[in-house]
């Protein structure tokens, strides 16, 4: 009899899907303790207009735009009235000079890469050609100039390899990065495309003996992951595919849109209260939590988040890893927001109370 009771409790426990959605993994940036490996922070001069070579040192921030004819440009829908043209906010950091050599790094789309090259100056200003190391598929060369007594760094970039977007152009202004807890969010956050979750995402992947789970072609996967198809091979296919499925699962939700409440709340400046967060949608909670990382200059890998934060005027991508110096207020807010995110994920549309 005792066993029967125990058995029935185990049985009932296994059937909670009727009252609870299964939790999907959270796509948090790397843990707080991650060291900023090899990331360099230049000591910029405060001069935003360039009079001397030293004034070049610092962050140059702006749009990294695919350089293609307008007719060939590919757009992604970012909601009903918005579209994304493949531009990312880039931070080209000029770090130091040794005679004619210039050293620096760039941060864009969660990619931190160093460069070095030669800088020349004449009466018109400065011009430079700098090279990324070349080991990474995304490496390439920058060619830019900065007119003297001006405040714009303008130029082009060309990938070494045949990437989907091989050429890009940019026009950057010098910005001083300073963590500011009071930065607010403007605009709403929406899904790229509203699409029904296909069965192969909703269910388990199919295992064919001796074959990887090729349910999606490498081209399709590359397109979805914002990668070049040559970067995908049989070894990393499954990991990337799993990552994609994870993102889609988390992302697909008809209600994944923020509300106006988002623009009145700040998750860094002070402790959020339960009353403030209890009526937020899962997307509100999610964006509020990620805004903490954005204020610290985290460069987002996930395209949706990147496009949203890139549009915030104050936002500058500085780190490819999350900084360890989150404030106590932010750590507590992250905990609170995560609790509500999990709750929304598990219970929002189920038979139950909350």
């Amino acid at each position: 009899m005792k066993n029967l009771v125990l058995l029935s409790i185990v049985f009932l426990g296994a059937c909670t899907s009727a009252i609870k959605d299964s939790k999907s993994e959270k796509d948090e940036p790397a843990s707080e303790s991650v060291e900023l490996m090899g990331e360099y922070r230049p000591e910029p001069t405060e001069n935003l207009v360039i009079h001397a070579k030293e004034d070049l040192i610092g962050y140059w921030v702006g749009w990294f735009v695919p350089d293609v004819e307008d007719s060939l440009r590919e757009y992604k829908a970012t909601g009903e009235w918005l579209r994304w043209d493949g531009s990312n906010k880039i931070n080209v950091s000029i770090d130091s000079f040794i005679e004619d050599s210039v050293f620096g790094h760039s941060v864009v789309a969660n990619n931190y890469q160093t460069f070095k090259g030669i800088i020349k100056s004449d009466k018109n200003g400065f011009s430079a050609i700098v090279y990324e190391p070349g080991a990474d598929k995304h490496d390439g060369m920058f060619e830019f100039e900065i007119p003297s007594n001006d405040s714009i760094l303008k130029g082009t970039w060309e990938a070494y390899k045949d990437l989907k977007t091989k050429f890009r152009r940019y026009s950057l202004s010098k910005r001083i990065f300073k963590y500011d807890a009071s930065n607010m969010l403007s605009g709403g956050y929406v899904d790229w495309e509203k699409f029904k979750v296909p069965d192969w995402i909703a269910g388990d992947t199919i295992d064919l003996p001796g074959e990887p789970d090729l349910i999606m072609t490498k081209e399709e996967l590359a397109n979805n992951m914002d990668m070049d198809v040559s970067e995908i091979n049989d070894d990393n296919y499954q990991d990337l595919f799993d990552e994609f499925v994870k993102w889609e699962r988390e992302y697909y939700s008809e209600y994944f849109a923020t509300t106006g409440q988002l623009n009145d709340l700040n998750s860094s400046a002070r402790l959020l209260t339960q009353a403030e967060v209890e009526n937020l949608t899962k997307a509100d909670l999610y964006v509020l939590r990620n805004s903490i990382y954005a204020r610290h200059g985290y460069s987002f890998r996930k395209r949706q988040l990147r496009a949203y934060f890139d549009k915030q005027d104050w936002y500058i991508p500085v780190h490819a890893n999350i900084k360890s110096d989150l404030t106590e207020i932010e750590k507590k807010n992250i905990q609170l927001l995560l609790k509500y995110e999990e709750h929304a994920e598990e219970y929002y549309d189920e038979f139950g109370r909350g």
């Binding site: 009353a275 209890e278 009526n279 609790k339 109370r353 909350g354």
Partner: protein, 208 residues
């Protein structure tokens, strides 16, 4: 015949939703103050009395639902009077001593501010009132009034099911914000039930 089929459907539905509520209660075994609903009661779980009252409410209220299987059956009431009386006393004692007082404490701390707090507090007070009236009339052997108040009391007990069912339907249909939904169902969950109870009582009165 028709009422028998209707009755059968009711009992079937009751069985299914009782099962779901059992699942909800079982989420708290082994007990964790970070499980399910409690996860978003961050401040309340720190109060010394909140969790004891929460446990009492969650682990006793479920049994009140089961009264629906036996207490409204004419057969049991007339042929096995002692069963009706014994289970009736159990219902009344569990409700008045455990479920309702603890429910009032939880209602006072409800999420969603005064809109939902007042809904749950009024529900709790009506729950106690209708149950005490039902007991009084039973002791006076005024069976019609006893029955009427028990219909009301049990209708309020069933708000455990209807609140959650309304929530499911409302979210499925309109996707409102989570706390707005909660405020709506805090009221709908029992007001609709009590209206249905009054209709049933009215029909029974006319049938006689």
């Amino acid at each position: 015949m028709k009422s028998k089929i209707l009755n059968g459907f009711f009992l079937l539905g009751l069985a299914y939703f009782s099962y779901l509520l059992l699942l909800i209660s079982l989420q708290y075994i082994p007990f964790s103050s970070d499980a399910a609903f409690l996860r978003i009661k961050i401040d309340e779980v720190k109060l010394p009395y909140y969790l004891p009252f929460f446990k009492v409410h969650v682990f006793t209220s479920f049994f009140l639902l089961l009264a629906g299987f036996t207490q409204f059956s004419t057969r049991i009431r007339t042929k096995y009077t002692y069963v009706h009386r014994y289970l009736g006393w159990t219902y009344i004692v569990i409700l008045l001593v455990f479920s309702a007082p603890s429910g009032l404490v939880l209602g006072y701390h409800a999420n969603g501010g005064w809109t939902s707090q007042s809904a749950f507090l009024i529900l709790g007070i009506l729950w106690i009132y209708t149950t005490i009236q039902a007991l009084r009339y039973a002791l006076k052997k005024n069976w019609t009034k006893h029955r009427n108040f028990m219909i009301r009391s049990y209708a309020l007990t069933l708000s455990a099911v209807s609140l959650r069912l309304f929530k499911y339907i409302i979210v499925f249909t309109w996707h409102p914000l989570p706390m707005d939904t909660y405020r709506i169902v805090a009221w709908l969950g029992w007001v609709v039930n009590i209206i249905i109870a009054e209709i049933i009582i009215h029909k029974k009165a006319r049938a006689n």
